[in-house]
Symmetry: D3
Amino acid sequence: MKNEMDAIVKTALIADAVPNMPWEPKPADCKEVVWRHSKNPIIDLHPMPKARSVFNSCVIPWKDHFLGVFRVDSLSMDPMLHLGTSPDGLDWSIEEEPITFISPDPALGKVTNAYDPRLCKIDDKYYITWCNSYYGATIGQAWTTDFKTFHQMENAFLPFNRNGVLFPKKINGKFAMLSRPMGLGMAVNYGDIFFSESPDLTYWGKHRIVFTRGPGKWERVKIGPGPIPIETTEGWLLLYHGVTDTCDSFVYSMGAALLDLNEPSKVLYRCQFPLMTPEKIYETAGYVGNVVFPTGVIADGDTGRLAVYYGAADTYTAVVYAHIDEIIAYVKEHAWK
Amino acid sequence: MKNEMDAIVKTALIADAVPNMPWEPKPADCKEVVWRHSKNPIIDLHPMPKARSVFNSCVIPWKDHFLGVFRVDSLSMDPMLHLGTSPDGLDWSIEEEPITFISPDPALGKVTNAYDPRLCKIDDKYYITWCNSYYGATIGQAWTTDFKTFHQMENAFLPFNRNGVLFPKKINGKFAMLSRPMGLGMAVNYGDIFFSESPDLTYWGKHRIVFTRGPGKWERVKIGPGPIPIETTEGWLLLYHGVTDTCDSFVYSMGAALLDLNEPSKVLYRCQFPLMTPEKIYETAGYVGNVVFPTGVIADGDTGRLAVYYGAADTYTAVVYAHIDEIIAYVKEHAWK
Amino acid sequence: MKNEMDAIVKTALIADAVPNMPWEPKPADCKEVVWRHSKNPIIDLHPMPKARSVFNSCVIPWKDHFLGVFRVDSLSMDPMLHLGTSPDGLDWSIEEEPITFISPDPALGKVTNAYDPRLCKIDDKYYITWCNSYYGATIGQAWTTDFKTFHQMENAFLPFNRNGVLFPKKINGKFAMLSRPMGLGMAVNYGDIFFSESPDLTYWGKHRIVFTRGPGKWERVKIGPGPIPIETTEGWLLLYHGVTDTCDSFVYSMGAALLDLNEPSKVLYRCQFPLMTPEKIYETAGYVGNVVFPTGVIADGDTGRLAVYYGAADTYTAVVYAHIDEIIAYVKEHAWK
Amino acid sequence: MKNEMDAIVKTALIADAVPNMPWEPKPADCKEVVWRHSKNPIIDLHPMPKARSVFNSCVIPWKDHFLGVFRVDSLSMDPMLHLGTSPDGLDWSIEEEPITFISPDPALGKVTNAYDPRLCKIDDKYYITWCNSYYGATIGQAWTTDFKTFHQMENAFLPFNRNGVLFPKKINGKFAMLSRPMGLGMAVNYGDIFFSESPDLTYWGKHRIVFTRGPGKWERVKIGPGPIPIETTEGWLLLYHGVTDTCDSFVYSMGAALLDLNEPSKVLYRCQFPLMTPEKIYETAGYVGNVVFPTGVIADGDTGRLAVYYGAADTYTAVVYAHIDEIIAYVKEHAWK
Amino acid sequence: MKNEMDAIVKTALIADAVPNMPWEPKPADCKEVVWRHSKNPIIDLHPMPKARSVFNSCVIPWKDHFLGVFRVDSLSMDPMLHLGTSPDGLDWSIEEEPITFISPDPALGKVTNAYDPRLCKIDDKYYITWCNSYYGATIGQAWTTDFKTFHQMENAFLPFNRNGVLFPKKINGKFAMLSRPMGLGMAVNYGDIFFSESPDLTYWGKHRIVFTRGPGKWERVKIGPGPIPIETTEGWLLLYHGVTDTCDSFVYSMGAALLDLNEPSKVLYRCQFPLMTPEKIYETAGYVGNVVFPTGVIADGDTGRLAVYYGAADTYTAVVYAHIDEIIAYVKEHAWK
Amino acid sequence: MKNEMDAIVKTALIADAVPNMPWEPKPADCKEVVWRHSKNPIIDLHPMPKARSVFNSCVIPWKDHFLGVFRVDSLSMDPMLHLGTSPDGLDWSIEEEPITFISPDPALGKVTNAYDPRLCKIDDKYYITWCNSYYGATIGQAWTTDFKTFHQMENAFLPFNRNGVLFPKKINGKFAMLSRPMGLGMAVNYGDIFFSESPDLTYWGKHRIVFTRGPGKWERVKIGPGPIPIETTEGWLLLYHGVTDTCDSFVYSMGAALLDLNEPSKVLYRCQFPLMTPEKIYETAGYVGNVVFPTGVIADGDTGRLAVYYGAADTYTAVVYAHIDEIIAYVKEHAWK
């Protein structure tokens, strides 16, 4: 790994060091910018007695190990949020019971049918956002400092919305979020990425389009933000999912774009090509075939190494690796003019 | 009219007097709580050279006459907002050109495809809200004090949303709005009424359900708030539209509910029956058959008289009359338990 | 009327005399086999305080006047069955409250969302069948002898079924019924007519197709039996509705066929053309435009005169007249070979 | 009429004189470029015993009177082509039996389900094109010289196609046709206008787009050519239908464009606004509500007067009048830039 | 196997002993109540020259070996019923030609497009029920005593119905059947389980709901009875399929419930969780991915062992094993309250 | 291979010898008429840096090696046509850049979104036809003599059309093409095979149906021609794809028919059964699961050997082998009567 790291003497990544992050060097014959963990999927079916599957989840380094908030589909296939811990970011131990939230108002109802969490540290708090059910899908919000007590907050938006992703720091003094407003139902064939800001995480406004579906075929049906945006000297690196339709169904791929650091609704570069598409059998067959759905990332500020966590086929948790500088170079080289 | 008015010595209505409001007494044989203006529709097709039709609009008393903001479908059937004036609230003169808004930010784009306006006075400003196009339908907002200069504000919500209706005063120190989040497309078969609040009309939050579709068949498909809620000693009187489906299409009726004065997401009474359904030929046949869609109201604080303006068949502007105390009594008598 | 009646010295109709039946002679310029009552619709919107509309109903002569079981859509548009009386079969007085049924088993649930009744005398009992809700639309059954006490029976079939129409006498010792099995939902685009038999009205079997949709365009989408089949020397005269689709919606017309007296699933003649299509404004515009839906008939055994009751636009009750011998001749002349 | 005609001393119209064409001067209060015949519809329901309705048809002057090829929906609602004659172009006598065609090849099958004919004189022959059924809708073709013997030709295109409209003379030595390729089914929500050419009416090619749906809302769903293009010094005047969708259904209006005389796939001017939309009850209610569908035109080369025949609500035949020079001026003034 | 069997000294199962039934003990690491046969699928693609695939079938012990009635999809993918024999219940020899039925009435038509058979012994006869085509899908019925001559009976119900499953003995003197009425088409998104009874297998009535879709997500779209209900001291054990939808398609799982012995429409316990979901590649990929569809069971009255036969991916026949007492305990422990 | 070849002393195939064609003898245990290449797929995902996948392509022998025109789905999943070369027809080298066409008219637009090419030699020219985008999918045409310069021609038809397949020689002096007209969109559920002819490849006409979907279930949804028809003494052997629907999606199989040599719209034999269905994991799972889509064939006139190239799962290129005489015998034996 030494030589490889030497080649990247300076990284554009602005992040803390995570020297113990999960990692495998790029295989010699790999010509792409991301490469799969050799033992994917890292979480198989039935990882624990009450769970059918675990996917579309989010992880962070925590002290000398790793924590995650996971989408756990129970045996009845109903999704909930569970806490997990791992010594190495690959071997996960997930709690049997879902996270319990302290509610700010009983009128918000109980947290049920909760899925696709994102986990974001801003200043000294950890924020979880997820797809929450409140008379339709919307963005649930909660915070914790110790991963023992979780404080639910107001839902960020009116339904229908999915994939609410916070930026890891305030921008121009405001909290900032990307999301994908979208209609009722599971197979809705549209959805674009918007930017919103808030003084307090309770009231949100100044909604701006970031970008819309298309123009490439791989993302012509719907798109949505993936992991927490990654700060770099070149802008916010946004990994996102893009969806196309076939005569059969949908195909979910992972794309990338660079957004302006101070005005993230301004797109600097948007890559024409996905970084990754469903190709392995654990990605093409399962509960929902042909899905790679990135939701989490660990980034090492010292080296620019990335470990991206993604849901595979709405069934498994898997990991790909990349160097952020290679991604940035690829995005810039292949950006739409 | 004298005797009739005498019968209602005290009204629950909390509003200014509008002695010159449009009015016809209830016909002797009318057994319902609302009755149609005898010369409906008050605005026919092609009321002006550049307009195909005018409907779903909102009016207010202004000095000794009346003003309105109208949905004008141009000859090409594209909707825009136009200002109108009337000496009596019935005979309207509508400006040829759409209202021009001063934009707070070019990124919001031009106001095009704007429809179904509501007009609301809060303190010393007049606010217009409407269905605005910004990468999907959402709630546009603007204010004016003189109906000459119109200041556009931020859109209230992310798409997709329709029928944003402000309350005519702050509640618990916050601006308050009802709206109907809904998906892309014209024939979406769902939609419920939500309540949101804002410190400043820019950032909105604390979204709460008011009520959902159903349970009566007439409103089982979708519902949406109608005119600005009417303040009464019994609560906010909400007139709204409810939609059912048939083996042919949709039928839009007008319903009513009373909401808590201090916590409007709390429903005090919701009437089982619509106050009015499409029955006249100008309501059952037209651009969209079977539509009565209330969007405006003039209320006389002295007498409790109401003139409700509604779009008929997405083609005409029409008026029905009612006494607010009769409506309140009817809503309470026929409320769902 | 004398001459006209003289012309038909002998009628094929097998029925009791109903000399006081509603009747208007055929207009001189009428070239069709059915002609509308001159004061249609006979039941307009809001015929009584709690009803929005009355249609798709069934009547019988009773002593010196007439009785009917009516589909009444309440103010909330929810349908129920109501009893009605009339001195002349045209001017109807309908009870405010729905018919109450004595249930054979609480597990059948309450009769709600009940519509499109048929009324049939077999031996000394009067049977009502209707579209009943029991975990889907199915055929409700009840009997009475005095129209004061109504005894509900078992539902005839599993869901989903509509338009269950009994024959007015046993055939080969068994009760006999026509019906239209069909899927869930209001706009289902298929539906054929089947024949079933029963020893006891509780258990039904020996289901046979009578005929399917098409081949004429007017009935290519779905068909369903109309009034109780009319016994004639030429076979059972079945009046039925046939439905076509347009680029807009559905059009419901009235057709006719003759079925074998002893084996009614055997079709003797099926008329290529509908006897009647929606043409008057009360048929083309309303709650559901373009609907004529025959459900009741009064037949005079002495003269062969028929008064057919039909729902118009799912909004009104209307009547057409005909001579049964003219219909039979027309059906035979224009039958599919 | 004198003065009015004087005002148009020179017309752009290139056509033979038809002094006896149907005509009514523009009403004094009419501010639009087309005005309806005062006794519309000119063909009502059941104009003849075997017909339910007649609409979407095409007429020509013939000797001292008028001939037409009519879409006749039979009593069973199946459409066929019938010949009609009229002394004045308004009072039509239509043959009971459909036109019989001499077939060039039995493999083409019988002409059934034939509709929306156009009638075009090129040199010394009269050509009929129509929507023909051959394993899907396509463009049938036939010719006659005497309107007694009709020679069917090859279908112009593969299915699925509708509204094949010939140009009234060869262009650059080739026959020329406009058409609207479109998918299977009645409610297909797309369709654009294409131009094709042929050396011999048997083999067609060099297909070019003329224009697509939109951008105005009134024509955003589908468009199709209407009557035979009208030659003028300003280009080919194309009257066409444009269709929008509402939350209920479709609305068919009449639009206009000017095409290059020598290269008709080149659009010179396309009017932003429809010339006419469904507004009268015979246009908004019927077999298919909200339809004006122009298919025929009589043009008087001496005066520039036009009588445009259109189907109303897929139920009636109706007529509007216009001056071609007014239309041309209107189209140019309101053309999309 | 000894120890394992010892652990279950007394079984709740009420059934004959089948000591030679197919069986594999539960793997040591298996934490679930059912476990797959180690050599699944037991019937692969093209098991015989004229068959593409064999699945959704039903087996019984017969003398010293096993018989089955199989759904065989022919090379053209059209399904038919075939007889099969096996020495051990795992290695099947299936007849090349479909079963021939002696018809009670030619009007019932030939048995074609027959699928998903169930095989049930009641008293001394063996009954086959299946999804039969008679102007729509309905429940075909036949009996045999020797598996050489098969007597077709009347169809049990009107269309549309699937999955007719007889109880293996009369209840309260009547034959009893579970079924799933459902609409036309392959992807219908609803379907509940009903109970019906019959004095003679010809006439059916007293239809009662057993349970409806949901509330768990895994069965929220449709449900249907699986193998013949299994009699136990705790009630009838019903294995059934439950279907959910994803943004891609459907997922079919196997659930379980206990029904009252004397009144089977009364549900004693319904398990919140499926017993089994599609997880192996032969279940997730094939003609229809993500299907486990149980239709047959062999139960050993001595030990409580079960071998459940299920169709995998509408392509293969596979087997899972279980102990009935473990299932009963699991169902009771995880029942909806 | 010797013996096997000896068995077929005389072949019905009319074609040049291709002794070096790719080939593997039929496995001993294979009971079907086609057998898969042992190392399928021959082109895997990412065969070259700019390509995601290569499939649905067409090859020919060229000098001592092989050429092909390939559908290459780029990294963005947009399809284009690329040239490829191979020494043995199995190991392919595909050019990085798409084929550039010399356009006959700029109005035809650029060739983008081009897919499913066919390659056909007629006289001394090589013709490529493909699914081209010109305001809808239609049949693009081009010719080359040296595979260096490619001359685009007029599109053969109006949209919407797919799978245009030329015959390899003129028939009755005319060029001849099979195609599948079809509607807009990817999942259209209909499509039949038509025959058209042309004097010059520019103007096409005399369109005739060849055959329609069904009657077997495997091809009941849509069908389309596959490789260039193969000339034999028994008629044109047409390999084609047939599509069925399941409750999940579509399944694409390969079928066969023999067409009259002089009048190819006349079907001599149509096989009831597909020759091949999706069964291997590379056929059942991928970008579009359950697809075998034949588009190319190499035929050896000396021996009757065939190598059929097909797209697998819209992801891979694969090959099956067959003897033409076995196919002909099979088709005739199993033909629909």
